[in-house]
Structures are given as C-alpha cells and as structure tokens.
C-alpha cells in the first residue's frame, strides 16, 4: 500500500527529506513506519495520521498521510 510521510521542523535536516511516498506491506503500523524512515525512536515526537494523533500500534491504510513532528509548544 502507498503511504505519504511528511517530516516537520528540524526532522527535515536530521533525516534528509521533507515529504516522500512509500510502498509498505499491508498491516504496517505507525511504529513500523517510524523505523522505516529512520527517525530516532527515543526522540520526543508527535505522529499524526490524516491529521489525528495515532494510537501506538495502530495499523495504517492505503493512501494515509503520516506526519512526524517534534513536540511544538507554542513558543
């Protein structure tokens, strides 16, 4: 299935891309996806799927847009 991944803020510099489409196997979860794009698991982050925060272990679906962002706190 096709998933779009978008990184936000300094993650773009750290992980080398801003937005890309990935072909992933059925059943891939948001956690799996974070591993696939090499984002440091230990780093605090907020992950949204189609604009809503993901639940750990939540499976993705074809056409999903996953956004991985550092924790912003409103300045």
């Amino acid at each position: 299935m096709k998933i779009t991944v978008k990184l936000i803020g300094p993650f773009i510099q750290v992980f080398g891309f801003s937005e890309k489409d990935l072909d992933v196997p059925e059943g891939t979860t948001a956690d799996d996806l974070i591993g696939l794009v090499s984002v440091d698991r230990a780093r605090p982050k907020i992950v949204t799927r189609n604009g809503r925060a993901v639940v750990p272990g939540e499976a993705l679906a074809d056409g999903d847009r996953v956004v991985i962002s550092p924790i912003y706190s409103g300045g």
Binding site: K6, I8, G9, P10, I12, Q13, V14, S18, P44, I46, T48, N50, G51, R52, A53, R65, V67, S69, P70, I71, Y72, S73, G74, G75
Partner: protein, 612 residues
C-alpha cells in the same frame, strides 16, 4: 535584600519629577517581580473606571529577580498598564537590554505617571533621570527612532520606543525594543503614546545584589552554554517558532481566511522550511541561547524578522502565502508599532465583514498591496476606516453591526493568536480564560490535546492542563521574568529556576511555592477585572462565536463537520473554575483569596463587585 535592588523608580511626566521608592521584603516575596509587581501596583494605585488612554493610567516596566543576570534567556522585561484594548489588566513581555540596564541602574521596576507637555524621551542613567524632547522623532517609525537613540547613546543602552501607532493611540499598539522585539500587545504602546512618551532609554552601572554572585555566575554561564548545545542538537532554531506552521496545517489548526478555514494547500509556501531557506540573518534577545528571530528580505528589500504568530496571522489568515509579501506586512507593523497578531486579525475581520455584507468596501483576502495601505491608514488613523480599524476588531464589529461580532476573532477585546480552535476545545478554553484576553503566552495546550488526551474531550484533564501551563507560562516566567523557550521548546528542566532563584535571593523555594505565587497573581488579575466589569459573567470567558457555528464547519480534512459546542464548552469552563476555586462567574471565592493571601485585596474589590 539579595535578589532585588529593593527600589522602584516612579516618574511623573506632568510634573517632570521622579522618586526612588524602596519596597519591603514582604512585597518582594509575595509578588516576586514582573507581572506580580505590575498587577499589585496597578490594583493599588489605579481607580477603577479610569480611561486607559488618559493621564490617570500608569505605564509600568517590571523586572524579576533573575532578569538581566547572565543565565539562559533572561533578557526580558514586562510592560503593563490598564489595557486600552480590553479595559482590564494588560501586559506583555519583550526582549530588551532594559532588563539588565534598569536593574544595574538600581531599580526592579519603573512606574510612569501623568502626561508630558510634549513628545518626550525619558533617559534613566543610574540615579539621574532626564525628560528630553523627542519632537525630532515624533511621527517617525520605530526603526528610525531606534537609530536616533543609538546615534546619541550607543547600542549598549536599554531602549523601549513606540511608532506612529502608539502615538495615534491605536488600541493594539506595542512597545518595541532592539531591532526586532515587540511586547505589550494589549495596547501598551498606546499607553506610552497617550503620555507623549516616545521612548525610554536606560543605562546602569551598579551591581545587582545577589546572595551568591560567584555561584550564580558559574551556573549561569555553564547553563547558557548547555542550553545552546541542547538547541543545536535538537535543531529547534533551524525553523524556530515557524516550524509549527506546517504542523498546524496538518492537524487543522491553522488560521486561514479569518479563521474560517483550518488548512490550505498553499501553506507550505510560508512554512518553517521556506523561512529557513530565505533566511538572511538571525537575531535574539540579550542572554539568548536559541535565537528565534529569522529575518528575510521583504518585497521592498528590507530586513523583516518573522516568527510563527506574525506569519500565521499576516499570511494564511489573510490568504497571503508569499513570504516576502508577508515580510512586508510584518515590517510595516514593526515600524508603525502595530501588534502583528491583532493587526492580522483586524485586517482579516475587515475582509470577512465586507465579504458578508456587514460593511461596504473593496478590500479582499489575498490582497497584499491593499493590506500594506490599510496598515498605514490604521497607524495614522487616516479616514473613517483607518480610524475604526485602529479600535480593534471588537469595537469595529460593534460599529459594523450585522452580527459581525460573531467573527471578530477576539476574547475580551484582544485578538486571538494564530491557533484555529474550531475544534480544539482545550486551546479554546486557554484563549477564553487567559487573564489578558486571547493570548497564547498563558497556556498552549494543543500538543497535549492531540497527543495525551482526545481532541473531542471536554473533560477536566484539559482544564487541569490549562491551569498547569498557566502556572508556568503566565506565572513563573512572567514574574521571575525569563523567556520560556529553553523549557518549553528544548526541555530545559523547570527545576533550574528555583536553583537560579536561590542563588540570587538565598531563598530555598520549591516549584510548589512558585505555583502558589502564580495562583495569587492570577487571582489578583481577576480582581482587577471584577472592579472594572462588576456586572460581567462567565460569557466573558467564551471564545469567538464562529467556532461554535455549525454553518462554519470544515467540509473536508481531519475535522470535517466538527465545531465547538456551547454546552460542552461551558462544562469545560466550569471544570476550570472548580479546579481554580472560582465561582460561577469566574471570580475567585473569598476562601480562595484567603488561601492565596489576598483576602484584603478581595475586601477592597467588594466595594465594586460581589464576592462569594
């Protein structure tokens, strides 16, 4: 008195007099400084009902026990007075050398009273105070005024100044400092203007009293280095605050078209990545470890310093996505001394009101050229529209009528910051109960709402989180007077602040002690409002009606079909009041005031409004 200079400088512009007034240990420990000093002084000294733009109002600059001392991000000052935009207590903070210079001159606060006979620059040089003419820069912008001051005193002095907006009493005029800093969006620039006070210049040479100066110096410099390293590793300042724009766009929280839309396909054109790419320089406040002021060339080739709030509200909110054009609007606001947030909201409200037939006009969303002209008309109060819009969106809506107050994006008269709460109940509450009107500096709860709670929830966990953040952001950082960014953006531990406080004052306090101070100050601000608006009720703490409007819902995206609901919001508000110990109007009960050590101030307020 270690930690404080022990003195306040009181200046009267009418009589051209000044007085160095000592304050007690008890006053210092009860109110700490910054916002704490400001609200206590204004509560004690202002008669309720005075005109905020008249000579009876007072302009206060207040510092805290760590302000100006080398340590992470301590180059900040609080400016305060009765707000021309809300009629309640108003304040704001800004990065400025005044933080260090006023303390070195021997004062923890400055109170400016009366009204000068002509345009005046107040110059404070240790124990000397001069009232100098400022006719040469009256009518000039803040950049030219700043240069005029630097040419006379050098760049090392502390400066506060205003532009044409402050002079012409635009109700959301700010105070400006350095080349890119602004504060006091509750109209503190207009309070200065009403006193014909064009600028304050401060030089100091004294030593700030500290309990352990050697210890503070070592810890302060070590921590300056460490926070800088943390930021470098985290990369926060690559995009600075504007990093959040792309995220807001993804989660349907971006203000677009006067907040009617929550996201836009062109938002990427002005996001943090684009801002970083366009960067020509980076600026920060004194003692900054993680400079956030990214400048770009605007359409006219000038250097304009941008952050998220001004990009969000002068950009997507006006359906302008071109960074140089947004830079031009931002530059004009900064030069005129107009608050960029309120300025953006006022323009978007005007375009929306025309769209909906509430008022005739040609101004349209997306028109950067017309926006530039309008900002000039506002700053100079030119023509009928310039004059109406200079009053802010709430008063403009009352003038336009036709229900336009529903989409004037303000709370209590202060325009909302750049977070679209069409379906973010906790952040809507944070705007609603902010003690100075809809400001994001008090409590920013969106990440918590999306990550650790459920967006749909109106539960007490959100009200508690709003209070927790108010205690830190609107409390601690506003009275100890320091920038919150090291804590909030790169995780610098809050426990560092009692540590700094102990090194300067010798007092061994815990964070819980500080939260009591925060709650005391919030209660005092509430009492200030009670005296001004004794008949007001909980509806004063409601956010703009358009967020509750079922006809205004998104038709696609993450919150399609969703909007805030009145009964649920009211329940959330009640959770907040219950947790705070406030009554059903949102006023602290007598028991709460007693617990916080302000029963006497409560009794004084009872002459004007009832307490329960």
């Amino acid at each position: 008195m270690n930690g404080w200079t022990g003195y306040i400088l009181r200046v009267n512009l009418t009589a051209k007099t000044f007085k160095k007034e000592p304050f007690s240990d008890e006053f210092a420990r009860k109110w700490i400084g910054g916002r704490g000093f400001a609200v206590k002084i204004l509560y004690d000294e202002l008669a309720p009902g005075i005109d905020p733009l008249g000579p009876d109002n007072k302009f206060i600059v207040a510092l805290g026990p760590i302000a100006g001392i080398p340590a992470p991000n301590t180059g900040k000052a609080v400016v305060a007075g009765k707000s021309p935009s809300t009629g309640g207590y108003g304040d704001g903070n800004l990065g400025t050398r005044v933080a260090e210079q006023l303390r070195k001159a021997g004062y923890d606060a400055l109170i400016v009273e009366g009204r000068a006979a002509g345009p005046t620059m107040l110059v404070i040089d240790d124990d000397k105070v001069e009232f100098l003419p400022a006719d040469a820069v009256w009518g000039k912008g803040t950049y030219e005024t700043n240069d005029w001051i630097y040419a006379q005193y050098g760049k090392g002095v502390g400066v506060l100044n205003i532009g044409q907006a402050g002079e012409n009493l635009v109700r959301y005029a700010v105070v400006r400092s350095l080349e890119g800093r602004a504060g006091g969006r509750t109209g503190m620039g207009a309070v200065m203007g009403s006193k014909l006070l064009k600028a304050v210049v401060v030089k100091g040479t004294k030593t700030i009293p500290q309990a352990d100066p050697a210890g503070m110096k070592k810890v302060g410099y070590d921590d300056l280095r460490e926070v800088h390293q943390i930021d470098k590793k985290a990369g926060w300042s690559i995009q600075s605050t504007n990093g959040v724009l792309a995220w807001c766009n993804e989660v349907a929280a971006l203000p677009v078209r006067n907040f009617r839309k929550t996201h836009h396909p062109d938002a990427w054109k002005c996001d943090g990545e684009r801002l970083n790419n366009a960067r020509i320089a980076t600026y920060g406040c004194p003692n900054c470890t993680m400079r956030c002021g990214i400048t770009i060339h605007d359409e006219e080739g000038r250097e304009s310093e941008l952050d998220y709030e001004n990009v969000g509200l002068l950009g997507p909110n006006l359906e302008i996505f071109d960074l140089p054009a947004i830079g031009s609007l931002n530059y004009l606001c900064d030069d005129y001394g107009i608050d960029t947030m309120s300025g953006g909201c006022v323009l978007s409200f005007y375009a929306d009101a025309i769209d909906r037939g509430a008022v005739p006009g040609d101004y349209k969303f997306g028109d950067a050229a017309a926006s530039k002209l309008l900002l000039g008309a506002i700053a100079r109060r030119e023509g009928e529209i310039g004059n109406i819009l200079a009053e802010g969106s709430m008063r403009a809506a009352h003038k336009f009528g036709h229900g336009s107050i529903d989409y004037a994006m303000q709370v209590k008269g202060l325009e909302v910051a750049a977070y679209n709460c069409k379906f973010i109940p906790g952040m809507a509450l944070a705007f609603g109960v902010s003690p100075i009107g809809a400001h994001h500096k008090e409590s920013w709860v969106i990440t918590f709402e999306l990550k650790q709670s459920v967006r749909e929830s109106y539960g007490p966990e959100k009200a508690q989180k709003v209070i927790d953040l108010q205690r830190i952001r609107g409390g601690l950082f506003e009275y100890i007077v320091s920038c919150r960014f090291p804590w909030i953006e790169v995780g610098w531990s809050l426990e560092n602040y009692p540590k700094y406080f102990k090194l300067v004052s010798g007092l061994d306090w815990t964070l819980d002690d500080f939260w009591t101070i925060s709650d005391r100050i919030y209660s005092m601000i509430k009492l200030f409002w009670l005296r001004e608006y004794p008949q007001a009720d909980r509806r004063m703490d409601y956010p703009p009606a358009v967020w509750f409007d079922p006809t205004n819902v998104d038709t696609e995206g993450p919150i399609a079909g969703k909007h805030l609901e009145y009964d649920k919001y009211d329940g959330l508000l009640q959770h907040y009041y219950d947790l705070r110990g406030y009554d059903r109007r949102g006023i602290p009960t007598k028991a709460t005031l007693e617990r916080l050590g302000v029963a006497e101030e409560g009794r004084a307020a009872e002459k004007f409004g009832k307490l329960s």
